[in-house]
């Protein structure tokens, strides 16, 4: 028996409404939990630049939030290093909610640049500055956070992530052992020029005497170059802020802390 057109249309409408309600109901219920999961993920990544991965994985979600609230203070600056508090519509900007990937699509001058300050136990002195970076790997986006010591040039730690680098090759940028290679390297040279830190071609050489070079990734040179470009670009975008912050301190403006 062929069903009538009316039957088919009615059936389709009812099905659509039922499934639509089911899905929108689910997203209503799960929405807040998802938002929290995304927030936790961002905060974990930020903390990952200063904490050991093993230490971080031991913390429960609640502990991460509490630790973050206590130890991280954040703000947003623009390319000139000036603090930005409100967006074009006058709505207050929350640094954690600034989407680095979306900002990456704008011109560097128009982007928002969040800075996360890792505070000492007392909750006042800044121990390190955490700066988000974003760029292109071989296949897709790569991003991460770079933690700088208070001299704003020595790298305290980095954490990298990627969308779809080759597992076992480019994807190794997420390995703790690869990220550890960046520790103690310097962004600026003695004269204050931006040198950034560059992964070299090939792997297995010792670059401990060169403050601007790190051992490369064998078989993943393009990803390594992507990391280099990403670091260099973002360090130059943040250099105005870094200079400002530095001159402020040498000028005896301890208030900045």
């Amino acid at each position: 028996m062929q069903q009538s057109n009316v039957y088919i249309v009615t059936f389709s409408v009812i099905l659509t409404v039922v499934l639509g309600l089911l899905l929108s109901g689910t997203s209503q219920v799960l929405g807040p939990i998802q938002k929290k999961a995304v927030e936790l993920d961002t905060k974990k990544q930020i903390l990952g630049a200063v904490l050991e991965a093993s230490e971080l994985s031991k913390m429960s979600g609640e502990e991460v939030f509490a630790y973050y609230d206590k130890r991280i203070s954040s703000k947003v600056v623009n390319i000139k290093g000036e603090e930005v508090e409100k967006d074009e519509d006058g709505i207050a900007i929350i640094p954690e909610n600034v989407d680095i990937g979306r900002n990456y699509k704008r011109k560097p001058e128009d982007r928002l640049y969040p800075v996360f300050m890792f505070l000492a136990e007392n909750g006042e002195d800044v121990e390190s500055f955490i700066i988000p970076v974003y760029g292109a790997g071989l296949w897709d986006a790569i991003w991460g956070y770079v933690a700088l010591e208070t001299d704003l040039t020595t790298i305290k730690g980095v954490t990298f992530a990627h969308a779809s680098e080759t597992p076992g090759l480019g994807a190794r940028i997420t390995d703790a052992s690869v990220q550890a290679r960046f520790q103690g390297k310097r962004i600026f040279d003695e004269s204050g020029e931006l040198q950034s830190v560059n992964m070299q071609k090939g792997e297995g050489r010792d670059y401990s005497d060169d403050a601007h070079k790190v051992d490369g990734l064998s078989g993943a040179t393009i990803t390594a170059v992507g990391v280099n470009n990403m670091l260099k670009a973002y360090m130059s975008h943040y250099s105005a802020y870094i200079q400002k912050r530095r001159s402020g301190e040498s000028g005896g403006m301890a208030v900045l802390n």
Binding site: Q34, T166, G168
Partner: protein, 227 residues
């Protein structure tokens, strides 16, 4: 009212056992003799894509089991009301809704897994096994049988992708469920000893090779030949 894929309605028997011989076959057939991946060669795409590591594969397997069981159940419950001219769209709508549900739940409760699997969960919609079972079975059979059929087929899919993932993770990354087995084994033999991992295994090519070997072994044992 019947559908285009008309099935002979079974003669009413007085209460068939919950797991009668016929029903057990529904469950066990897709595991080996009529395996969706190795015999029907369906769902290869996801079998290649997600199987580099065991953990995401495991989540993927669970998701497919959930989607198949509930899609089969829903379609079977609605089988007498679904207009045959739009049945494919109806099946798709049901599958898509279930997959979206899985995706949302993963995003809320297992965000790391959600990030890792991302598009592949969405691609369950296009997994031919799911729609194949709806079209071939659920549209013409009772709900309970359809659930068993869906569960069986999903298990058949699950164990194959888990087997592929086991070998790919072991040989490609030297670990099992994230535990660095190779490192521990080489640790037993001193510092100079190390087991090399094979980069081929982490690329889709590795999955093809493993899958091919599994099919070979299976067909040698069962004597199955394609006609």
């Amino acid at each position: 009212m019947s559908t285009e894929t008309a099935q002979v309605t079974e003669v009413k028997k007085p209460a068939e056992a919950l797991l009668s011989k016929r029903r057990k076959k529904l469950l066990s057939d897709p595991l080996v003799d009529d395996n969706p991946i190795t015999i029907q060669v369906l769902g290869i795409c996801s079998a290649l894509a997600v199987t580099t590591q065991l953990q995401p594969t495991f989540v993927m397997a669970l998701s497919v089991i959930f989607v198949m069981v509930f899609a089969n159940l829903t379609i079977s419950l609605l089988r007498n009301t679904i207009p045959s001219r739009v049945r494919i769209i109806v099946q798709l709508a049901v599958i898509a809704s279930l997959v979206t549900l899985v995706n949302e739940v993963l995003k809320a409760f297992a965000y790391d897994m959600y990030k890792e699997l991302s598009v592949f969960v969405g691609l369950i919609i296009t997994n031919c096994i799911v729609m194949g079972r709806l079209e071939a079975y659920a549209l013409g059979n009772k709900p309970y049988d359809s659930v068993l059929d869906g569960f069986g087929s999903a298990l058949g899919y699950a164990w194959i992708i888990l087997a592929v993932a086991f070998f790919r993770e072991l040989w490609g990354s030297g670990s099992v469920f994230g535990v660095p087995v190779f490192d521990q084994i080489s640790g037993l033999f001193g510092d100079d000893f190390s087991l090399a991992t094979n980069g081929l295994m982490v690329s889709p090519v590795g999955a093809f090779i493993i899958l091919g070997l599994i099919i070979w072994v299976q067909r040698t044992k069962t004597g199955y030949v394609e006609h």
